[in-house]
């Protein structure tokens, strides 16, 4: 579904991704973790062409990034993204947040867009917030709306960039529950997160990054069940993020 082949990226002469190769199969949930500055967010932002890269290719379905020109917009329709700071449109109410891209990008009629939006609001448990403004919602509610906004375009892949790290602790689970439900339904997901409990329960694979390179890429039960086989760096990271 998503195949990274030797992707390199740098800001000036500072490398941020080094020869990253990675495959995410259809329906797979891959958690990407690692210390801050290791290139996790940059990695997933390359998938929907928000971040350009200098060499290598990323294949998403039949679209190939990094080889000549590509219609980035067509790609982005198929790839939903959820941001650390929600990034709901603060001047629009919830329903308009969910309908804007459906109307301008997919060309759906207002009734069709609102019907889809209503179904998604039900699904994230926020049916009664359709005319609320983002500022009136809690962080957890805003992030659930942001997930619904991405789903409204019927994406084949969902990218999550630290979706819970800006949340108060008591709101983390309501967001993770929505993501877990999505994973159970077979959505292909790449998730940058420090929520190791979520990774252990939901992920098929865990990728550990450091200094822009993938250090570990293994099945979830190996990553958590058999840490002795991991690199020193990954073991140290795990001992810090896992509850004692």
């Amino acid at each position: 579904m998503i195949v990274f082949e030797r992707v390199d990226k740098c800001y000036g002469d500072k490398p941020v991704l080094r020869e990253v190769s990675l495959t995410v199969r259809q329906g797979e949930v891959v958690v990407i973790c690692g210390p801050s500055g290791s290139g996790k967010s940059t990695l997933i932002k390359c998938v929907n062409a928000l971040e350009p890269f200098q060499s290598g290719t990323i294949r998403i379905g039949e679209a190939v990034l990094g080889r000549g020109s590509l219609d980035a917009r067509a790609l982005r329709r198929r790839v939903g993204m959820v941001f650390q700071h929600f990034e709901l449109y603060p001047h629009l109410d919830v329903m308009e947040n969910l309908c804007l891209a459906q109307r301008t990008v997919l060309g759906r009629s207002r009734p069709a867009a609102e019907e889809r939006a209503s179904a998604l609001l039900d699904r994230v448990g926020l049916r009664d917030k359709r005319s609320a403004m983002p500022a009136q919602l809690s962080g957890g509610q805003q992030q659930r709306i942001a997930i619904a906004r991405a789903l409204a375009l019927d994406p084949e892949v969902m990218l999550f960039d630290e979706p819970t790290s800006a949340l108060d602790p008591e709101m983390v689970n309501e967001v993770l529950d929505v993501m877990t439900g999505l994973a159970r339904e077979g959505m292909t997901m790449m998730v940058v997160t420090h929520e190791m409990g979520f990774a252990r329960r939901v992920a098929d694979r865990v990728v550990f990054m450091e200094d822009g390179a993938i250090v570990e890429d293994c099945a979830t039960d190996v990553f958590f069940g058999d840490p002795g086989t991991l690199s020193q760096r990954a073991q140290r990271f795990l001992s810090k993020v896992l509850p004692h």
């Binding site: 932002k45 929907n48 928000l50 917009r73 982005r76 329709r77 790839v79 939903g80 993204m81 941001f83 700071h85 990034e87 709901l88 449109y89 603060p90 001047h91 804007l100 891209a101 301008t104 990008v105 997919l106 403004m133 983002p134 500022a135 906004r149 991405a150 375009l153």
Partner: protein, 234 residues
């Protein structure tokens, strides 16, 4: 002080009529200059944010020129210098045949000066919208133009609404500088009353009061627009 006050003077003909005509010219100058400034400022601001480095520099140069040269000097340049630099026939037409040459020139000077200030204000508003908003809009498949149309500019507008009101009040006051090239607006009319009657206190007092009333009215109008627009900002 031995001075015969006569406040009734400004309410008598012909002086009352002069003041009314002055107000009409002041409002016409301000409105036309504002319209020109808005039309020019938005594209300049967008070019400053989105253009290539060369385009950004050019747009920045535009802002520097029109914002930093005193308005009175810009009036003189547009009125006395620019027609001489034009092709001969066009220059003659501007000086002789153009309808309302003083007024038209004053609108151009006032509009260009204000457009430099507005372009900078718009740019600061655009810059104040969090970077993530563009990413979010692009990630949903919007084009950059759509992202600005639906997401960035509406938020930028809400951010700059208060200083935008100040700019609008400024253009009304700045329009008085048009008297230096012969537009008989409110300040010029009050000066004329002073010349005719030697009642400067009343003439300038009346003009002052009228400016205050105009500014107060415009400020009230803007204040009624503001709360609904600002309530939604996080």
């Amino acid at each position: 002080m031995n001075y015969a006050w006569d406040w009734g003077l400004v309410l008598r003909e012909p002086y009352a009529g002069w003041l009314i005509a002055g107000v009409a010219w002041t409002l016409a100058l301000s409105a036309a200059g504002w319209a020109l400034a808005l039309i020019l400022a938005l594209p300049v601001a967008l070019l400053r944010v989105l253009g290539s480095p060369a385009i950004r520099w050019l747009a920045g140069f535009y802002v520097s020129v029109f914002r930093n040269i005193p308005l009175i000097l810009q009036m003189f340049v547009w009125f006395f210098v620019v027609p001489e630099l034009m092709p001969r026939d066009l220059g003659l037409w501007v000086k002789r045949d153009m309808p309302q040459p003083e007024f038209t020139t004053a609108v151009v000077a006032l509009g260009m000066y204000t457009s430099g200030r507005l372009a900078e204000l718009f740019r600061s508003g655009i810059d104040a919208v969090p970077r993530g908003q563009v990413s979010a809009a692009l990630a949903c498949g919007l084009t950059r133009a759509q992202a600005y149309q639906y997401v960035i500019l509406p938020q930028a507008f809400r951010i700059i609404l208060a200083p935008l009101t100040s700019e609008f009040l400024s253009i009304v006051k700045n329009s008085s500088i048009a008297l230096t090239i012969g537009v008989v607006e409110l300040t010029a009319e009050s000066r004329q009353i002073e010349d005719m009657t030697f009642h400067g206190f009343e003439a300038f007092g009346a003009a002052t009061l009228i400016y205050v009333v105009i500014a107060f009215g415009l400020d009230r109008m803007a204040a009624r627009l503001r709360p609904s627009a600002l309530a939604v900002r996080t």
